[in-house]
Amino acid sequence: MNQSLHQHNPFKRMLFGFAFSPSLESNLHEVVRLAEFFDSELILLHVGEKTEEKQKKVSSIVDATASSSRVCEYHWITGDPHTTLLDSTESLSIDLLVLGAVQHESLFRFYVGSVARKLTRSVKCSVLLLIKPAVERVACKNVVISGFKTSTLPNTLFQAFYSAQCLGANKATIVEEIANKSVKVIVDDDRSLIRSLRKKRVLEAEENRRVAELIDQLPAVLTDSISVQKQAIFGKRGYSIGHYAEVTRADLLVMDAPVKTSLLSRIITRDIEFILSDLPSDLLICRAK
């Protein structure tokens, strides 16, 4: 593949925890394909005992994929799924943990199971949540990236554009969520409405400038032939971007990892919680190592 692109690979080692479920085949095809696109090494881990039969079954599926050489290690570890995967990402120096989401009864809605949810918060590397792994590839065209101002945004943009480029996306939209609080004008009547609109315009311009600067700092090969757009949306931070991804039928949504993971903030459900319970698309949660 493209050497100048892959020299920037932030996901050199990928980990996928697999289980012997009906979707094993499609899962494996999907992650192997991803490893190929990203030019990464793929480590497959099963929480449970190793048996000859199981190893044979897995290997045969992997061999049937187009890039079976990407799989470099198999691990069989017994124990609690959450701690096992958490520890393994550390001990095996994993850059990207890949997890699958669960389908709702209504067929079009996906949510993240409890183990995956905990892992998403606790691991120290980036996490990719897949909603509908398939044997045959579904093209990725449209990537939505959260432009929320954090100290790790440059890293998030880097990982986002690397992924978009590898997956062959045409369009990346950087979404800036402007919370009502930051507008700081309560709209009571006509006068306050005008003030509020003016403030929003100013905020939007500031956000655009900030994001444009960050994108300019990325290596050119990452943003090559991807149409980059900026969109300001007004709504509840963390939630609105999921809704936006759904409305624009995005194929991949990229966000920063939630920083405050205290029990209190989880009870008051904010940020990533909303999106985890109703995934609009594949979700990449970026962390800097």
Binding site: F108, V138, A139, N170, K171, Q229, K236, V247
Partner: protein, 744 residues
Amino acid sequence: MTRNQFISSLPKNLFAGFVVSLIALPLGLSLAVASGMPATAGIVSAVVGGVVVALLGGSYVTISGPGYSLVVVLLTAVTTLGGGDLFLGYTHTLAAITLAGVLISLLGVLRMGKLAEFFPASAIEGMLAAIGLSLLVKQFPIMLGLEAGDGNPLIKLLKLPLVVTEFVQSAPESASTLAAGLLGVVSLVILLFNSSIRNRYYQQIPSPMWVILLAVGYSYYCQLRGIENPIRPELFIQLPDSVESMIYHPNFDLINSWGLWSVAITIAVIGSVESLLSIKAVDNLDPQRRRSNANKDLRALGVATAISGFLGGLNVVTVISRSSVNVTQQANNRSSNFFHGMFLLLFILFFSKLLNRVPLSALAAILVYTGYKLAHPLKLVAAVKVGKEQLLILIATSLITLSTNIITGIFLGTLITLLSHFVITRRPLLFLLHLFQPNVLAFKEKDTDSFYVSVKYFCSFLNLFKLKSKLDAIGATKTVVIDFSLCEFVDHSAMQTVENYIASFEKKGGTVSTIGLDLHGASSSHPFAVRNLTTENTLGSIEKLFSRRQENLSKMSKEYGWEYCAKNQPIDPSLYRFLFFETKPIVHIYNTLVDPISNGVVQDIVFNEGEFIARESARVTALTIKLESNIPSFVLDKEGLLDRLNAIAGFGDLTVEGHNYFNRKFHLSGSQPDKIRSLFSKELIFLIESSPIYLIESSGNELLILKKDRLLSPTEVKALVYFGRELIETLACNSISSNREISN
């Protein structure tokens, strides 16, 4: 409003205030008496209300004074708080009113103006109907010159005919009853048939004033003829002759008892709800379309109520009926409210002797009429038209309110509405899970000035405020498209609210269109009927029940001579010749519009993206035009989404010489680069640059044009049709000129 404008509009507001005071006088007197308080209490509250709210309020053309909703509550408080002693009860009630005023102000400070918007529309109608019926039922015997009874309003309603028989029996024997009763009945007739009297001079004076004049006239008639007025003295209004004796002060002895506080809280909550609903309604009446600051008004009303209670008056609310008269009389600022208060003060100071000639039966007639209007049977018919469940909610709320009290009534009514939603959708989890989740997204669409609002999960009275605050923050001068495609359930209150926004935006130069409701099943063809997507019968509904968008499309088609058909159409296989639909299986096509001039066909197309139905269905409005002669096939899209597909097929991005802006903004590709370049003449490029277009594709003998990647509002459909015509024309001109070149 500048100083000069203010001064020049003073006469108008002065006169409007005067007319309103003519109505406020009898109403204030009758409301006070019906509440078990001295007649002047009503006037005190109107005067205080007019002055205080004019100075401190946040609305523009409202009138403040005593309201209807708390009459029964106040009467109960007066009779019970004093333990039988009516005067004591009165002063205790004043304490409750004063406390309520403080609470109302607090609600305003805490910006709780949104509270009123939580109650579903039909429950509020039910509550108003119950209030009207209680008023009517209580005052009916008084109107006939009889004693008022005690007891449950519901039972009294059923016993209403007995009151009539009682009158018929006792009237011949008691001259007082006969005279009072007849006066009352005649007054009622005057009120009922007011609009039938077509005399211009008669119409200058509002009908309640005519009632007063009639009563006073009758009294003078007796005096002139030397007869003693047959009506017993205690059946007259008794206004005191000095100002001091009109003022009473509250008794705060019961301040530690729950009884007093419960009355205060009831007054605060119901009074605020009545005011907030009235303010909203009056905003719709304001010819200048100004938006009131409801919280500022609440603060003012709270202060006014507290002062009024302290001086012996009723509570102060914003009243819709007097406000609408105010608007009709062309008032345009708060000074009319002030003047109405001042005129009332004048009346009470200098005309009290005159007013003492008015018997209570005349005032009762005014209230019976008001009650009748609030509980009009036509409202039941209106509710059924929206949907059967609305009628159920209305009647249930009314009955509960009549048999218990207002607060219980409105809360249980709300609960019943919620239960009806559970039953209709058969998915209570839909509401419970997503109740506290934000469900509205708004953003400005790129390259246009229009805002897109998407509503998800459900939209009912429970979370309407979220949609409303987004629309309010956008501003009524903008173009807004509300997309309900992701929303599975939309209730009556939400539909009604959206309609209100459509109207208010229109008046300020903006527009609101709704898309995505065409597939929702509705319980009736009424525009406010509940929309439900959770049940299976979604396809059938397109044919029977029109959404507002479909109605508009149908109207527009008639106006412009297009053929319109809402029904599902068979899928034309030629659509799959377009690269856009190559990997998108089409599920169904509806809302088809045919333009005879360009032979263009506009359709809503529902399709799936990707295999294995990896996504929910996407919807888009597309224009297809079959061409008479072939042109080279190409894809022109703004965002290069189809680039990758073309790259696979071996077609790169074409550039046209001399058009840098076009090359930058659009991706153009196809299998015959030279022919495509010659097709894209200066005129064609200019046309495309100046119109917002998402995609134009040619399959050789047919064009596919997409304006946006979603369903279009009726206005946008019109623009799309016109763009299609211009495109065809430009292509035709090109082919003529290129033919000429070839032949040369």
